[in-house]
């Protein structure tokens, strides 16, 4: 009796060890494949860094020398002062002119993006009191137009405040000053807002590219049939595919985070352990998505397209990285709740700039865990280790 049960236990033990060996062997094979085709290593280490620099340098909403025109029809001391503050602000590169017509036409085609007009009448009124200054912007780039309007207003506001201080309270017709304080990012540097979030886009890309082809490849090359003949189970098969890319992805993630702190001087105020945890969960989601695409399509062409379509643009446009989710129409806002990058962007931003705000980070991590669970259930279901 005793010997039988101990025998069974030994057999089971043996089997378990075999299983682990199976997974490890597959993982090792996958690892070899990674090192043999250098493009995997490029994807894991070079691409993320290149992307990070592209995001850091290429995407910025802090206007810097945007060409605008300024037309002063009849200059006076007041207009000169205004012009000086426009010129002095580093937001704009100012083209000056006397006549509206000559400069207006530059708006077509974006040779200037906006135009500030101080008419003769305005100059006269300015001497007496307040006067409207016309701001003309090209709406064909609505976002830039919005930014320019905001910045011109900021310049004028500063000018007003300055003026009020100069002349003392008797002339203060705008006695309410607005003092803006920006938390977490005191200089309102858009790069500090964008870079941490862009890590989410980068990891989505890396994760989906790395895994979207791994199963489809086996089917297409016919090596899947060899695997089918082995005693491997579905979960073991997937685990073997997952592990090497997970390790690769996590190292890439830490590398990118470190570069943003060291090279781009983005503050990191949260805990690195928490970052590691959230990244691990997110990577499970991203790799899971890739594997799901790969298993479901079995065809590298379709898998590639699906990865490109599901990976890059949604994580860039719908994650709240550049475009505010709250501002989107309701159906799209609802849609974003089903896209994992949104939660990773939010967690990354908070961890980098605000610190360990548990309400946000834990909530995001929990939701991502649910995503991971769903994706993996689907992937395991879709994986068929039989020929049809």
């Amino acid at each position: 009796m005793n010997t039988v049960s101990s025998n069974q236990a030994r057999v089971q033990n043996e089997r378990r060890r075999l299983r682990l060996r199976c997974v490890l062997a597959l993982a090792r094979k996958e690892g070899h494949q990674i090192f043999r085709d250098p493009s995997s290593l490029v994807i894991a280490f070079i691409l993320p860094i290149v992307l990070l620099f592209l995001f850091g340098w290429g995407i910025s909403l802090d206007l810097g020398s945007i060409p605008i025109g300024v037309v002063v029809e009849s200059p006076s001391r007041d207009t000169e002062r205004l012009l000086d503050s426009l010129r002095g602000s580093h937001y704009f590169a100012v083209h000056e002119g006397r006549h509206r017509q000559e400069i207006e036409s530059l708006l077509v085609g974006g040779r200037i993006r906006g135009l500030v007009v101080i008419s003769q009448q305005a100059t006269k009124n300015l001497a007496q009191g307040s006067a409207p200054v016309q701001v003309l912007v090209a709406g064909s780039e609505a976002n830039t137009a919005e930014l320019i309007t905001g910045y011109v207003e900021t310049v004028l506001q500063k000018d007003r405040q300055h003026r009020a201080e100069e002349t003392g309270r008797t002339s203060a017709s705008v006695p309410i000053n607005v003092e803006a304080r920006v938390w977490y990012n005191p200089n309102l540097d858009s790069r500090a807002g964008i870079l941490p979030g862009s890590i989410a886009v980068i990891m989505t890309l890396i994760g989906t590219i790395l895994t979207s082809l791994v199963v489809a490849r086996e089917w297409e090359r016919g090596t899947m049939e060899a695997l089918l003949a082995s005693s491997i189970t579905r979960s073991e098969f997937l685990l073997g595919k997952f592990l090497p890319y997970f390790i690769l992805g996590l190292s890439a993630m830490m590398l990118v985070a470190m570069v943003s702190v060291i090279v781009f001087h983005i503050p990191f105020r949260g805990s690195w352990w928490l970052l590691l945890l959230v990244s691990a969960i997110y990577l499970t989601v991203a790799l899971g998505l890739g594997l799901l695409i790969s298993t479901a399509t079995r065809n590298q062409f379709v898998a590639t397209q699906a990865a490109l379509i599901a990976g890059y643009l949604p994580s860039f446009i719908l994650s709240g990285l550049v475009f505010e989710i709250n501002s989107m129409p309701l159906p799209i806002r609802v849609l974003t709740h089903f896209l994992p990058p949104r939660y990773f962007v939010s967690a990354l931003r908070t961890l980098f700039l605000a610190g360990n705000v548990w309400e946000i980070v834990l909530k995001d991590a929990a939701i991502l865990t649910v995503f991971a669970a769903i994706l993996w259930t689907l992937t395991i279901r879709k994986t068929r280790l039989t020929l049809e």
Binding site: S39, W57, G58, L136, R181, W183, L213, T304, I317
Partner: protein, 373 residues
């Protein structure tokens, strides 16, 4: 030779459209993305949360609060904070984008004619939204303050003040949709053309059928042309379909010349097909081809001026934007749709596409022949 190319083209079309899954991924997603992304790509601030920390017990403090509550489009949730801890909590957990702090002596100072300061606390994590919200808030406070002072009818002599009045050209109501849709048109046609070309050779290489093509009477140049034509046709037709959809579905005005757009799109797609073939001839596996597509696509979109103005790009990589065909296409579509530009205005955006297209196509052909032999 023409006949041989024709046959290859037919075969390529079959390869794309025979498989139902690949048929779907080529046609449907671009249209869906056009629909979804164009609504999403906005820097406006809407439906944001706003905190108000009103330490002033007076009338004016309440009135200013009411002002903020009266713009539900922008600030759909107004959270009243009573302590500083509330403020911190609301900002930390991102319930609100900004908090307006009205000081204790707000009403008193204003009644006495003293200037006072309202503090605005912003969440710098969402730096763009914070920036835009700051503008809105400043405008609301400014309007309020002019009203508050004229109400008192005090004989203050105002100093010289300049107040801005904004007018918008081309997109009079500043609908973000109007500028995002034409830009997406460029991005999505690019995606289609690139997808179809970049994998076509790598797939044949991996399946081993490429060698069969090589031993066929087709010459390398003919193979290249045969690979280029289907991708070009698919992307061009899809582009046309999207232009049509944009005008009909979104009601976006088409003010420029359709012929101009057609010509620009033609050259643009030639350039993209060239890039696709480039990737295709370099890549030995489909994974490498996919990597190549991303390597082009990501910077092309980031530096195209789609999300942020081209002028903001760091000087170190500005030149990359200058050789980005997508950047020119995005500018052209926006112009043609909204501005009705004269030819001399569009020319600086159209002509760079010629050398780019010529370079990508010629070098792809060279590379292809080189890698084949």
């Amino acid at each position: 030779m023409l006949d041989r190319i024709r046959r290859l083209v037919i075969k390529e079309f079959l390869a794309i459209f025979r498989d139902p899954a690949s048929r779907v991924v080529v046609v449907v997603p671009p249209l869906v993305q056009l629909l979804v992304f164009s609504f999403a790509a906005t820097l406006e601030v809407r439906n944001a949360g706003l905190g108000i920390y009103n330490e002033d017990g007076g009338l004016l403090g309440r009135e200013l609060t009411a002002r903020f509550e009266a713009v539900p489009m922008t600030f759909s949730r107004v959270v009243l904070c009573t302590t500083y801890a509330d403020v911190k909590e609301a900002l930390d957990t991102q319930q609100v984008l900004a908090v307006v702090h009205i000081p204790q002596d707000f009403t008193r100072s204003l009644h006495a004619g003293f200037p006072t300061t309202v503090q605005v606390l912003l969440d710098g994590r969402q730096s763009n939204a914070a920036m835009v919200a700051q503008g809105y808030i400043a405008r609301i406070i400014r309007d309020f303050s002019t009203l508050a002072t004229t109400d008192r009818r005090t004989a203050l002599r105002p100093g010289s003040q300049a107040v801005s009045v904004t007018r918008v050209w081309f997109n009079e109501n500043l609908y973000p949709l109007w500028s995002s849709v034409p830009a997406l048109l460029g991005i999505l046609t690019n995606l289609v053309a690139l997808l179809v070309t970049s994998l076509s050779v790598a797939r044949e290489r991996e399946l081993g059928t490429f060698d069969q093509l090589l031993v066929s009477p087709l010459r390398p140049g003919e193979i290249l042309i045969g690979k280029a034509i289907p991708a070009f046709v698919v992307a061009y037709l899809e582009g046309g379909l999207m232009v049509f959809a944009v005008v009909v579905l979104f009601g976006i005005p088409f003010r420029g010349s359709l012929a101009l757009l057609a010509v620009a799109m033609f050259i643009f797609l030639l350039a993209i097909v060239g890039i696709g073939l480039w990737i295709s001839s370099l890549a030995a596996t489909q994974q490498q081809a996919l990597l190549g597509s991303f390597t082009y696509m990501v910077p092309a979109v980031l530096l195209s001026g789609f999300a942020t103005p081209v002028e903001n790009i760091h000087p170190a990589i500005r030149w990359l934007s200058d050789i980005d065909p997508l950047r020119y296409m995005v500018a052209i579509t926006r112009m043609v749709f909204l501005e009705n530009p004269t030819p001399d205005v569009v020319a600086p955006y159209v002509w760079p596409l010629f050398p780019i297209a010529a370079f990508t196509l010629v070098s792809a052909a060279w590379l292809f022949r080189h890698r084949v032999e």
